[in-house]
C-alpha cells in the first residue's frame, strides 16, 4: 500500500514538474458555483467582513456577507478559508508585463517604439500571454494589469489585460484604454544613467509644452472636422480622447508639470490621470479641486534629492489618502510587478490605513482605469476576480497566495520558479 502510494506521489511529482516547467495552462470558464467560507474578506471598498461568505457563479459574484447570510449554498463547491484572507485581485497599472521578457536582451523588448508622437501605437498586439514572467506575478495576487508602451513624447496606447489567457484577444479587459503622454521635464539632464552629468532648468520646456498644445489643437480640429481630406493615423488615435472613450495618462513627477498637464487637459475637455506623480503630495489642494486621479510610481525608490525627507516616498500615499485624493500604486517594469502589494504594505507602515491600501490596489485602481463598474471590489454582480491568502497579502512575512480566481476561473498559481525549486529540492532529497 505504502509502496503504491509512493509510486503515485512520484508520478504526480514528475507530472507536476513537467507540466509546470512548461507554461501554465489558462483556466477554463467557471463550471459550477463556488462559495468561500470563513475568511476575513477585504472587499476592496474599505469594508472588511470577518468570518465571511463569498459566493460566485459564472464568473460573477453572487453573494457577499457574513455567516448570517441566509442563503442555500448546497449546490456550491465549498472552499473553507477559515483564518485566511480574501482580497479582490490586485491591479498593476503602468506595467510592461508581456512587453518585456528579459530587460537586457533587445530581442525580447517590445515596449519602446521609435518616434516622438505615436498615439497610434498600441501595446495590446505585442502583449505576450506566454511570458514566463506573468505567472510569477499572479502568484503574488496581481491579476489585472494595464500594459503601457514607453518612450517619446506620446508613447502610445495601453490596454488593460487579465493575466490568464491563451492569446492577447482573450486577455483584453479593456482595449486601448489610455493614451500616454510623457510631460516635458522642467529640468534637463546631461549624461546618461551610468554617467550622470548635471541637472539644470530645461531651456526648451516651453517649446516642448507648446508642441503638445499644438498637437492637441490640431488633433481636436481633426476630431471635429466633418470633411477630412487626408486620413491621419495619429489624429485618428487621438479622437478617443475627445469623445471620452479614452483617458490621457500624463507621466510626470514634478508639481508644476502636473498642474500644467491638468490645466491643459481640462482646456481640451480630456479626461486625465497623472502617472508617477512623485510630488503630488505638494499640490494636494490643487489635485482635490480638479478631482484628478493619481497613479503613484515606485514607493520603493530613493528620494529624488539629497535634502529630501528620507521617508518621503513611503509617506506620500498616506498624505494623499488623508487629503482625499483618489490614487493607486504602480511600479515600472514587468517582473518587478510581483512586489506591488508590498509597496502598499510599506506605505501602511508609514501611516496609510490598511483597508485604504487595499482599496488603492483594487477598487481605486479600477476606478482610475475606468473598469470599476465590473471589477475591483467584492460586490455582488462584479467579476469574481479575487485571491485567497494564508495571511496578510501586503506583508511578505505572512503572504502566501493559496488560490486565485479571474472571473470565476480558478487559475494556476504555480509558476516556473516554484517548479525549479521543486525540481532541485527533489534532486537533493533523492541524493540523500
Amino acid at each position: 500500500m505504502n509502496v503504491f502510494k509512493n509510486i503515485i506521489v512520484a508520478i504526480l511529482t514528475i507530472l507536476s514538474i513537467q507540466v509546470s516547467v512548461a507554461q501554465q495552462t489558462p483556466a477554463p470558464p467557471q463550471a459550477k458555483p463556488i462559495v468561500i467560507m470563513g475568511a476575513t474578506a477585504h472587499l476592496g471598498n474599505g469594508e472588511v467582513i470577518e468570518n465571511s461568505i463569498i459566493a460566485f457563479d459564472q464568473g460573477k459574484i453572487t453573494a457577499v456577507g457574513n455567516q448570517a447570510l441566509a442563503q442555500d449554498f448546497s449546490n456550491h463547491q465549498k472552499i473553507d478559508a477559515t483564518g485566511k484572507h480574501i482580497y479582490p485581485g490586485f491591479i498593476a497599472p503602468n506595467s510592461q508585463i508581456g512587453l518585456v521578457e528579459i530587460e537586457a536582451v533587445r530581442a525580447t523588448r517590445d515596449s519602446r517604439e521609435i518616434g516622438y508622437l505615436k498615439p497610434h501605437v498600441r501595446s495590446i498586439i505585442a502583449y505576450s500571454t506566454d511570458s514566463r514572467v506573468t505567472p510569477t506575478i499572479r502568484s503574488n495576487g496581481v491579476l489585472l494589469s494595464q500594459v503601457v508602451p514607453q518612450g517619446g513624447r506620446i508613447s502610445g496606447q495601453s490596454s488593460i489585460v487579465h493575466l490568464d489567457a491563451w492569446n492577447w484577444e482573450d486577455a483584453i479587459y479593456k482595449i486601448d484604454d489610455a493614451i500616454h503622454l510623457n510631460w516635458p521635464s522642467a529640468f534637463s539632464y546631461s549624461g546618461w544613467w551610468a554617467e550622470p552629468g548635471t541637472i539644470k532648468a530645461n531651456k526648451n520646456y516651453e517649446k516642448n509644452t507648446r508642441e503638445i498644445e499644438t498637437f492637441f489643437q490640431e488633433a481636436k480640429a481633426y476630431h471635429k472636422s466633418t470633411n477630412r481630406s487626408k486620413k491621419n493615423l495619429l489624429f485618428d488615435a487621438m479622437t478617443g480622447l475627445f469623445d471620452g472613450s479614452k483617458t490621457l495618462h500624463v507621466h510626470t513627477s514634478y508639481a508644476r508639470s502636473m498642474m500644467s498637464a491638468v490645466l491643459m487637459a481640462e482646456k481640451h475637455g480630456v479626461k486625465i490621470v497623472l502617472v508617477g506623480a512623485g510630488e503630488a503630495w505638494k499640490i494636494t489642494d490643487f489635485l482635490k479641486k480638479h478631482k484628478t486621479f493619481v497613479i503613484l510610481s515606485d514607493v520603493h525608490s530613493l528620494p529624488s534629492r539629497t535634502d529630501d525627507d528620507i521617508d518621503q516616498v513611503f509617506k506620500t500615499p498616506s498624505i494623499l489618502a488623508k487629503a482625499g485624493i483618489t490614487f493607486c500604486f504602480s511600479m515600472n517594469g514587468a517582473w518587478q510587478q510581483r512586489n506591488l502589494p508590498f509597496q502598499a504594505g510599506h506605505a501602511v507602515g508609514f501611516g496609510l490605513d490598511y483597508e485604504k491600501a487595499i482599496k488603492a490596489l483594487t477598487s481605486d485602481a479600477a476606478k482610475i482605469l475606468g473598469i470599476d463598474k465590473t471589477t475591483g471590489s467584492l460586490v455582488r454582480g462584479k467579476d469574481a476576480t479575487l485571491i485567497i491568502a494564508d495571511g496578510d497579502a501586503l506583508d511578505m512575512r505572512t503572504c502566501k497566495i493559496q488560490h486565485a480566481f479571474i472571473q470565476g476561473r480558478k487559475i494556476d498559481v504555480d509558476n516556473k520558479q516554484k517548479a525549479l525549486a521543486r525540481k532541485f529540492r527533489k534532486k537533493y532529497a533523492d541524493q540523500k
Binding site: A104, T198, K200, S301, D307, M396
Partner: protein, 1001 residues
C-alpha cells in the same frame, strides 16, 4: 609738486622704452647697445620688506634688478633716479604657484571609440601608461606670453610656477618672471616641483578608468621606480622612470579635486615617505582637523562660488543644502586654515577673471583671515614651497627687485596697484596720481548749473551730480594726463546724454561740451568746499551693515550636507528595557529582556538589569536585533566602482575611494544597516579589493572602515566580464571559456611570483596585482565572486581546487540552488538577491527560493542589496525567504545579520546580540521581518547614529537652513551681486555593472 609728477612720468616712460636692465646680453643687437644701471631709490614709502616686517617712511634702493638696501636711513647715490612714494605702499610682489603660463596646451589624441587602448600610444622609451609623464619638463617648451603675463601682473604677481596641467604625473614645473623680455631672461628656475594629480588628462589609454585605478597606478609606479633604480635599469632603459626618480628630490605638488582626495593622496604619500603640497579645492574647511593631520602645505584657490539664482523656487529646490552652505562658508576657508595652523599659499587658479583675486582675498579677510597671513600666502609661503625664497617673496638685500607699489594698504578695498616692478623693471598700471580731486564743485554747463560731488577714493573717485537731497546722478568720466571727459544723463531718457571734455587745472576744470541736441556750449567747474567726513562715509556704513549680515554664518556639519552632525554623537551607556531580543545565538528570541550597551560593546543581556547611570530606552512592543550587514553594496564610493580596463585589476581597492559624504549612508542607517561590504564592480574576472565599513555617518572615510576586518576581493563571472553588452568588445575574455583561462593565467603567475619571492630573487619587481593574488592563495584575502549560472560557478570551484584556494562567497549566485551541494563541499557561502530576475539572460533561471534552498543544503547564506534603494529595507528582503522558501523567521533574519558577518569574517565582533560583541544593534518598531517595521534607532559601537525622532528634528533644521540660505542668496542678487544659474551634479548610484571612465570629470 606738479613738476616732480611730470618728471616721474618722464622717467617711467623712458624706463619702459629701454630694453633690458641687465648687463651682458647674449643676443645680438640691431642698433646701439643701451646698458643701464637700473638704479632707483623709492623714498618715503611704507615698505613691507617681508610679510611681517613693515618699515614706515622708508627707502628702497635697487640696482640691476636687485634689492640693494631697504630702510629708514638708506644713503641714496647721486646717480639714482629718485621716486617719491609719500603715502604709498611697497610690497614684495606676489607669487602664483599654479599656472600653465607660457606652455602649449596638451592635445588629446582621438580616442579609439569603444575599443580599448591597453598600452600607451606614446612612441618612445617611456612608461606603459601615458597618463604618467614625469619626463615632461615645462621649461623646455616655455615661451614668453606678454598678454597673459599682463593679466597676472595687473593683480600683483611678479613670478609664477608653470607646469603642464595634464596627467597623473605631469612632469616638472618651472619658475618664471612676469616680465616682457625674452624667455631666457624670464626663466628663474628650470625645475621647481613635480606635479601630480588623479586626472588622466589627454591620455587616451583605457587604464585607469576609475579613481581607485589611478591610485593603484601611482602606487605601482613608486614601486616600479624603486625597482628600476636598483635593478631595472640594467634590463631596460625607461626614460619615464629615469625622470621619475630624478624628480623625487623636488617639492611634490598634488592637484586634488576635493578634500577627500587630499586624504587619499596623503595616504599614498605616507606609504612612500612623501609629504605632498596639495593644490586644494577651497573646501578644506569641511574637515579641517583631518586636513591638519596630513601635515601638508596647501595651495588654496579663492574662487568662492557666486550665489545661485534662486528666484524660481523650483530651480531653488534642485540645489542641495551642501552647495548652498558651501556658497556661504567658502570665504571662511582661508581663515579656517590659518586658525588650524596650516601652511598655505594662495593661487588665483579657478578665478573666472584674475582681476577678482584681491577682491576675493579681501573677502576672506572679512571672514576672519588676518592680513598678515594673507600677505604671507601671497609672498613668503609660495616662495618657500617652490624653493625660490632666495630670489622672491621678500625685499631684503640681494633679492630680486620684484615688488608692487600700491596707493593704500593692499587689503584696503580702495587700494590700487599702481606699479608692478619685475626684476627692477617698471610696469605702470596706473600713474602715481598725486592730485586729490575730491570735493564739492559747482558745475556750469552752458546756462545750467549743478552741484558736482567728487568722492570715494583718491585714486578712483566717483562723480555724482546732485539733483536734490535724495537724488544723485552718476557721471562717467575718464582722466588721462589732466585731460578729462565727463558724460551724464539727467533724465534717464534715450538720447539725452551730455558730453563734456576739457582740462583739469589748478584754477578749475573747463572746456567744451555737446548737449543732447548736438549744440556746443562751454563748461567749467568751481571748487565749492571739501567733503565733510560724514558724506564720504555714508556708503561705508551701509556696506558695514551688509557685511555684518553676510557674516551671520551657518555651521560646518559632518558630513557637509543635509542631516550631517553639528556635534558628533558619542558612545553612551544605554539600557534598552523590556524588549524582544533576537539574539541570533543559542538563546534564540528572548521576550521582555533588557540589553545594556556600554563602552561601545554589548555589556549585559538579562531581565531587570539595573540601569545605574545608563540612559534607559523603553523597548516594550519593540524588537532589538543585531545591525543589518550588507554583503554587497556600492554606496559611499567616489569616482568609479569598476576598473574595467583590464581583465585582472586586483591592485585596485575600494578602500582607497570610500566616500563619507553620501546621503545613502544615512538613509541606510534608517533601514537598520550598520555595516557594508563596498565591493568593486563586476566587469572583470578579477576585480578590485573591497572596503568593509561601518556606517559611521559623519566620520571621515578612514574612520568608517571596519578596523579588524579581513581583506576581501571581488571576482566576477558571466555576461559582465565577457562584455556582453558591448557589440565591439576587444578585451579578453569574450566568452565563459576565456574567463577560466584568465584565472588559470593569473594564479599561475601569482604562484611563480611567490616562488621567486620566497627564493629571495633580488631583482624581483614588486607587483601589487600579484601580491594580492598571493594573499588569496595564503588565506589572507577572501573572494566574493559575482556569479549567476551553474556552469561558471562549478568552473571557478574547479579552478580554486586546482590552484589551491577557496572561494569564500559567491555573490548574486542566482543559480546557487542548482549547485548548493557542491558549494557546501567546497566551503563557499552564498549571498544572493531575494527575488531579482529577468533583467538579463543569465538570470533567466533565478528563483526567489534560492536563498532558502542553499540554506537547507547547509550553505552559509546571506541576502544582499547591490542597490542603494534596496539597502534600506533588507529586513523585508530577508522576509521573502520566509514567504517564498519557507525558511524560519530566525534563520531569515540571520540572512541579513549573522550570516553576512560570518561571510565577511567579522562575526566575532558583530552579527548577533551577545555579551562582548560590538554594540551594533537596531531597535525596531515592530517584528523585524514585517513590512510594517521601522528602524527606530540604529547604534554602531554604542553610538546612536540614527534616531527616528531626531530625524524629524533634522528634517525641520534642513528646511529652515535651506530657507535661510535661499533668502540670503535672493538678498545677494537684489544687491546686484553676481549669481550663477542653478546647475547641480547628479549623484551617481552604482551597481556592479557600471564601467565608465571617471578619471576626467
Amino acid at each position: 609738486m606738479q613738476k616732480k609728477f611730470y618728471a616721474l612720468i618722464y622717467f617711467l616712460g623712458f624706463a619702459l622704452l629701454s630694453t633690458t636692465l641687465l648687463a651682458q646680453e647674449t643676443f645680438p643687437r640691431n642698433g646701439v647697445y643701451d646698458q643701464r644701471d637700473g638704479l632707483y631709490a623709492f623714498t618715503n614709502a611704507t615698505i613691507y620688506q617681508t610679510y611681517q616686517d613693515k618699515i614706515e617712511k622708508a627707502t628702497l634702493l635697487i640696482r640691476d634688478g636687485k634689492v640693494v638696501s631697504v630702510g629708514k636711513s638708506v644713503s641714496i647715490p647721486k646717480e639714482a633716479v629718485i621716486i617719491d612714494l609719500s603715502g604709498k605702499f611697497i610690497y614684495p610682489s606676489f607669487i602664483e604657484a599654479y599656472t600653465e603660463l607660457g606652455l602649449p596646451k596638451a592635445e588629446k589624441k582621438k580616442s579609439a571609440g569603444f575599443r580599448e587602448n591597453m598600452v600607451s600610444t606614446k612612441d618612445g622609451a617611456y612608461l606603459w601608461n601615458e597618463a604618467l609623464r614625469p619626463e615632461f619638463r615645462a621649461y623646455e617648451l616655455f615661451k614668453s606670453d606678454s598678454k597673459a603675463f599682463e593679466t597676472y601682473r595687473k593683480v600683483g604677481f611678479g613670478s609664477f610656477m608653470s607646469h603642464r596641467i595634464d596627467g597623473i604625473s605631469r612632469g616638472t614645473g618651472m619658475v618664471g618672471l612676469l616680465g616682457d623680455e625674452r624667455a631666457h631672461l624670464l626663466l628663474l628656475k628650470k625645475e621647481a616641483a613635480h606635479v601630480l594629480s588623479f586626472k588622466k588628462g589627454s591620455s587616451v589609454q583605457t587604464y585607469p578608468t576609475s579613481l581607485m585605478g589611478g591610485i593603484a597606478l601611482l602606487r605601482q609606479t613608486y614601486y616600479d621606480a624603486k625597482w628600476y633604480k636598483d635593478h631595472g635599469h640594467k634590463m631596460e632603459t625607461n626614460l619615464s622612470l629615469d625622470a621619475w626618480n630624478r624628480v623625487q628630490s623636488m617639492p611634490q605638488i598634488f592637484d586634488v579635486r576635493d578634500q577627500l582626495e587630499v586624504f587619499r593622496a596623503a595616504k599614498i604619500g605616507k606609504e612612500f615617505g612623501i609629504k605632498y603640497i596639495f593644490k586644494g579645492n577651497g573646501d578644506e574647511y569641511k574637515r579641517i582637523d583631518d586636513i591638519k593631520a596630513t601635515g601638508s602645505a596647501f595651495l588654496i584657490p579663492v574662487n568662492f562660488p557666486d550665489a545661485y539664482d534662486v528666484e524660481d523656487p523650483y530651480a531653488a529646490a534642485l540645489i542641495s543644502l551642501s552647495d548652498m552652505k558651501h556658497w556661504e562658508l567658502a570665504p571662511t576657508n582661508p581663515a579656517k586654515l590659518e586658525a588650524a595652523g596650516i601652511e598655505f599659499a594662495f593661487t588665483s587658479d579657478g578665478l573666472k577673471k584674475k582681476s577678482e583675486l584681491l577682491g576675493k582675498i579681501r573677502k576672506a579677510i572679512k571672514y576672519g583671515l588676518s592680513e598678515k597671513t594673507a600677505l604671507k600666502a601671497l609672498t613668503h609661503t609660495p616662495a618657500k614651497l617652490l624653493g625660490i625664497a632666495d630670489h622672491v617673496g621678500s625685499l631684503t638685500t640681494g633679492k630680486l627687485a620684484n615688488f608692487i607699489v600700491c596707493s593704500a594698504p593692499i587689503f584696503d578695498e580702495k587700494s590700487t596697484i599702481l606699479h608692478n616692478w619685475v626684476r627692477g623693471k617698471a610696469h605702470v598700471l596706473k600713474a602715481l596720481q598725486e592730485k586729490d580731486l575730491r570735493g564739492v564743485y559747482r558745475l556750469t554747463v552752458g546756462k545750467n548749473q549743478y552741484t558736482l560731488n567728487v568722492k570715494g577714493s583718491m585714486e578712483k573717485p566717483t562723480m555724482m551730480i546732485e539733483l536734490n537731497d535724495s537724488t544723485e546722478i552718476k557721471v562717467k568720466y575718464s582722466l588721462i594726463d589732466d585731460l578729462i571727459s565727463l558724460s551724464y544723463n539727467l533724465t534717464g531718457e534715450k538720447n539725452d546724454v551730455v558730453s563734456l571734455s576739457g582740462a583739469v587745472e589748478q584754477s578749475g576744470w573747463g572746456g567744451n561740451a555737446t548737449l543732447a541736441d548736438g549744440t556746443w556750449v562751454t563748461w567749467k567747474t568751481g571748487f565749492t568746499r571739501a567733503l565733510a567726513e560724514k558724506e564720504d562715509k555714508k556708503e561705508d556704513k551701509n556696506a558695514d551693515k551688509d557685511a555684518a549680515e553676510d557674516l551671520k554664518l551657518g555651521t560646518v556639519s559632518y558630513p557637509f550636507m543635509a542631516f550631517g552632525w553639528t556635534d558628533m554623537p558619542k558612545a553612551e551607556t544605554i539600557l534598552i528595557k523590556n524588549t524582544t531580543v533576537w539574539t541570533n545565538e543559542k538563546d534564540g528570541i528572548l521576550q521582555d529582556t533588557d540589553v545594556l550597551l556600554e563602552g561601545g560593546k554589548i555589556k549585559k543581556i538579562g531581565k531587570n538589569l539595573a540601569a545605574g547611570s545608563a540612559k534607559v530606552i523603553d523597548g516594550k512592543d519593540r524588537h532589538l536585533t543585531a545591525g543589518i550587514i550588507d554583503e554587497h553594496s556600492h554606496i559611499a564610493i567616489s569616482r568609479g566602482v569598476n576598473e574595467c580596463s583590464q581583465a585582472v585589476t586586483a591592485e585596485v581597492s575600494i578602500s582607497d575611494v570610500v566616500n563619507s559624504e553620501d546621503i545613502n549612508i544615512y538613509r541606510q542607517l534608517a533601514g537598520g544597516v550598520t555595516a557594508s561590504q563596498l565591493l568593486h564592480g563586476s566587469c572583470n574576472p578579477i576585480g578590485g579589493q573591497s572596503a568593509i565599513i561601518k556606517l559611521r555617518w559623519g566620520f571621515a572615510p578612514e574612520k568608517m572602515k571596519f578596523e579588524k576586518s579581513a581583506g576581501f576581493i571581488k571576482f566576477a563571472l558571466g555576461e559582465n566580464v565577457k562584455s556582453s553588452r558591448s557589440s565591439r568588445n576587444n578585451r579578453f575574455p569574450d566568452t565563459r571559456m576565456g574567463v577560466e583561462q584568465v584565472y588559470m593565467d593569473a594564479f599561475t603567475r601569482a604562484k611563480e611570483y611567490e616562488q621567486a619571492k620566497k627564493a629571495g630573487k633580488a631583482d624581483l619587481r614588486k607587483d601589487l596585482e600579484l601580491e594580492v593574488l598571493i594573499e588569496i592563495l595564503n588565506d589572507q584575502r577572501f573572494i566574493s565572486c559575482h556569479s549567476y549560472v551553474q556552469s561558471e560557478i562549478n568552473m571557478l570551484m574547479h579552478v580554486a581546487d586546482r590552484m589551491n584556494f577557496r572561494v569564500n562567497t559567491f555573490t548574486h549566485i542566482l543559480e546557487g540552488y542548482k549547485v548548493a551541494d557542491k558549494m557546501k563541499e567546497h566551503g563557499a557561502g552564498g549571498s544572493t538577491f531575494s527575488d531579482w530576475w529577468a533583467y538579463k539572460y543569465e538570470v533567466i533561471d533565478a528563483i526567489p527560493q534560492n536563498s532558502s534552498i542553499m540554506h537547507e543544503q547547509g550553505v552559509l547564506t546571506a541576502i544582499n542589496s547591490d542597490d542603494a534603494e534596496m539597502g534600506r529595507r533588507l529586513n523585508q528582503e530577508a522576509a521573502k525567504a520566509v514567504m517564498y522558501g519557507g525558511t524560519s523567521e530566525e534563520d531569515a533574519l540571520k540572512f541579513v545579520t549573522l550570516n553576512p558577518a560570518k561571510l565577511l569574517h567579522i562575526d566575532q565582533y558583530v552579527g548577533s546580540i551577545k555579551v562582548g560583541k560590538d554594540a551594533d544593534v537596531v531597535l525596531w518598531s515592530n517584528h523585524p521581518l514585517s513590512i510594517y517595521a521601522k528602524a527606530d534607532m540604529t547604534f554602531i559601537d554604542g553610538i546612536k547614529f540614527f534616531d527616528r525622532t531626531l530625524d524629524k528634528k533634522l528634517q525641520a533644521e534642513v528646511r529652515a537652513e535651506r530657507a535661510r540660505l535661499i533668502q540670503k542668496m535672493l538678498t545677494a542678487k537684489n544687491k546686484g551681486k553676481a549669481t550663477q544659474p542653478v546647475k547641480v551634479k547628479k549623484q551617481h548610484l552604482y551597481h556592479c555593472d557600471h564601467g565608465e571612465d571617471e578619471m576626467n570629470h
